[in-house]
Amino acid sequence: MSEITVGQTPQEERPSPPPQTRAPSYLNDSYSARSWLLTTDHKRIAILYVLGITFFFAIGGIAATTMRLELLTPAGDLVQAETYNKLFTIHGVVMVWFFLIPSIPATLGNFLIPLMIGADDLAFPRLNLASWYVYMFGGLFTLGAAVFGGVDTGWTFYTPYSSVYANSSVILTVVGVIVVGFSTIFTAVNFIVTIHRKRAPGLTWFRLPLFVWSHYATSIIMVLATPVLTITLLLIAVERIFGVGVFDPALGGDPLLFQHLFWFYSHPAVYIMILPGMGVVSELVSAFAHKRVFGYTFVAMASIAIAVLGFLVWGHHMFVSGQSLYASMIFSILSFLVAIPSAVKVFNWTATLYKGRISLDTPMLYALGFIGLFTLGGLTGLYVATLAVDVHVHDSYFVVAHFHYIMVGATVMAYLGGVHYWWPKITGRLYPEGWARFSAVLIFAGFNLTFFPQFLLGYLGMPRRYYAYAPEFQVLNVMSTAGASILALGYIFPLIYLLWSTRYGKSAPDNPWEAKGLEWTTSSPPPRENFYETPVVTEEAYAYDA
């Protein structure tokens, strides 16, 4: 077995693959636009999703960049207050619903779940295609409403501001979000049925890769939580259009009811965003430590525990809202408890490295970056779960920093790590390792410079959603904006070199990382039907030689 040492790139030390006539793959069995737009191949649909989420990520990123530029100076000078409020609304809505929630499941999950379980496709291929169209339609509809009509409620749509006072396209925006919710549900149902029904012979539940386990847990949350969001947003529309008193006290409604319903969805939604990332990281740590994931069963069960407990902590968003004192205490203790399964995962990933054969290729850099940022994000979650501390930092930049460490720091690191790891499988090409490592480090540094100062800003007293702020906060804001520009570069580089590699990258062997997992046993890129023969599984996941 050839050993890879730290510092060497895989394509340098491996002999280039023998000249070959390319086997028919899902990429080259037809080229027409129709063959892409009407495909039912989960791999092609995954690519369509990649295009969609990349587009929406760019939109959300442009909004974020404009906000960071505004915040360079204390005075509100670059844009007007109204524009700023619309920018953070677009940023939040687009990033949460059109990027983060579909990010890993609809792209890597879509591509890999059938490959990892030895199936030819998802259980409902046409539903899978439909979910992409529903997603694109809903996303573009909302984006149109937000850009041309403008919406300034924030992604949280708090009532009665959203239902009565906001003079903007609230209804059109929520309609789009509701539509995208259906695509989430379609994908989740598809995954659940696929994982139950389409596993290869011999692939028992406890032989499944942890990536599949975490997607299973994610899908359960998607199916159970998304309908609550749909209903809640519909109620806003009902109140706005027909004046039925649901949330507005002037009509006999209760504004806190909205917050309960919204967070009953939106807190589990955080786990929709992070659990798939955890699945990716389990795969990466195992592959690049060349060792079975430590405590496999505990890591798998931790995903399920997070999915269940995640439904019981929504009230920690409401410690200063005026909810009952005793409710706050219960939500606080449950929030401490939900941190435990996440901590268990971090400890198990760390223990996986012990006595491993570790190489620090780009995907592993992202995985270790994920663990670092997730640990910081998770630990600061304890600060906001701590009642008396949350009273102070609630709705401040501390909270902004905390959830960006989880949702951007961790989830985007996992997504990029996964994209690099499976890039050879997806495209049949190798990406340039040097550029990729450089970008990974750049993203990690840029991210920390952007968001770490925001912890300090929040504790010192800067509220979120302020377009103008007190002059004493300027230094930290300038640091944050500087970090954001580094981060932006870090995101642009992979976009360029990955696109470049699809044409000029070296051809990838079937298993460039010498990793375990059924997806590496088929060709790179895989044929339309994934496997020429249905694989039979006779061993545990991650059965690396000790």
Binding site: P255, S321, S332, L360, Y383, A388, V391, R465
Partner: protein, 312 residues
């Protein structure tokens, strides 16, 4: 926290101490995890000749250890902070009561003797201050970072907040709940004075204004409340309101409710919502006829109507 943030209330130093403990706890885990990762990544790098025999794949003992130990480290913090939060939610009986009405995008304050301020609040140092707050439109949030206190201000429902300032000076007040276009301009300041200076300040304010209770008494007559709610006996068409505030009221449906500010407010605006036992649902609504300030005055008046034998 240097010049950027003072510890200007009795709560501030407690919260900061909790922050320090959390920093120590999270610092421990960050150093532990990152230290181990770096150590393993170097020692077990591919190609190194480190001993890899008997590499474990699972260990029940370790799993239990790293489930239970973090839990045991976290629980005391929960208990400690919950106790502090509990105190923070219980308002001392002798607190000075100040009324706050929020609206897009300003804070209106009223002192017990009727002095009014906008976007500024003078308070005495070393004395508990209670804020009874309501919003006229959307949700706002009353945040004084130097005091480490924050409370959302809701439309249609009173929320309360209390603090005891420990330092003289002027401290920023910021709206922390997004409330529309000029959210970031919904600012104010808390001016903490020595108790004697506070009395002097009060005296220097426009003394033409009556106290909220006196204004409420006037309204009580002008709106015709007194024709049904008689003060001397229970024989009116509505219940007497003497001694009602803070008492438990039995309703027609058998339920018992505490007559607090929110109950009285609801009974004025939506009288049919909670009918007092033995009375009829005949009171007209005052929805849209009285402002939030007037409602607070009416409630202050009712609050002042205590039985004579009570020491208030």
């Amino acid at each position: 926290m240097g010049n950027l943030l003072s510890q200007a209330s009795t709560l501030a130093s407690k919260v900061d101490l909790m922050l320090l403990v959390l920093l120590a706890l999270s610092g421990f885990f960050v150093v532990l995890i990152s230290g181990l990762i770096i150590f393993f990544a170097v020692r077990y790098r591919r190609g190194s000749d480190a001993d890899r025999s008997h590499a474990p794949n699972t260990s029940l003992r370790l799993e239990i250890a790293w489930t239970v130990i973090p839990l045991l480290m976290g629980l005391p913090i929960f208990v400690w902070s919950a106790a502090a939060y509990f105190d923070y939610q219980r308002i001392p009986a002798d607190a000075l009561e100040i009324h706050v009405v929020a609206q897009q995008w300003m804070w209106k304050m009223e002192h017990p003797d009727g002095q009014r301020e906008i976007d500024q609040l003078h308070v005495p140092m070393g004395q508990p201050v209670k804020l009874l707050m309501i919003s006229q439109d959307v949700i706002h949030s009353f945040w004084v970072p130097d005091f480490r206190i924050k409370q959302d201000v809701l439309p249609g429902r009173y929320t309360t907040l209390w603090f005891e300032a420990t330092e003289e000076g002027t401290f920023p007040l910021r709206c922390a709940e997004y409330c529309g276009t000029e959210h970031s301009r919904m600012l104010g300041e808390i001016v903490v004075l020595k108790p004697t200076d506070y009395q002097q300040w009060l005296a220097g304010q426009d003394s033409g204004a009556a106290s909220p209770a006196a204004q409420g008494e006037q309204l009580f007559t002008d709106l015709g409340c007194s024709s049904c709610h008689r003060l001397d006996d229970d024989l009116g068409r509505g219940p007497s309101l003497v001694g009602v505030f803070g008492s438990e009221v039995r309703l027609a449906n058998g339920a018992v409710v505490l007559a607090d500010e929110s109950y009285l407010r609801e009974s004025i605006l939506r009288p049919g919502a909670k009918i007092v036992a033995t009375y009829q649902d005949i009171m007209p609504t005052f929805e849209g006829q009285v402002s939030e300030e007037e409602l607070i005055s009416l409630i202050s008046y009712i609050q002042s109507l205590q039985d004579e034998e009570e020491p208030r």
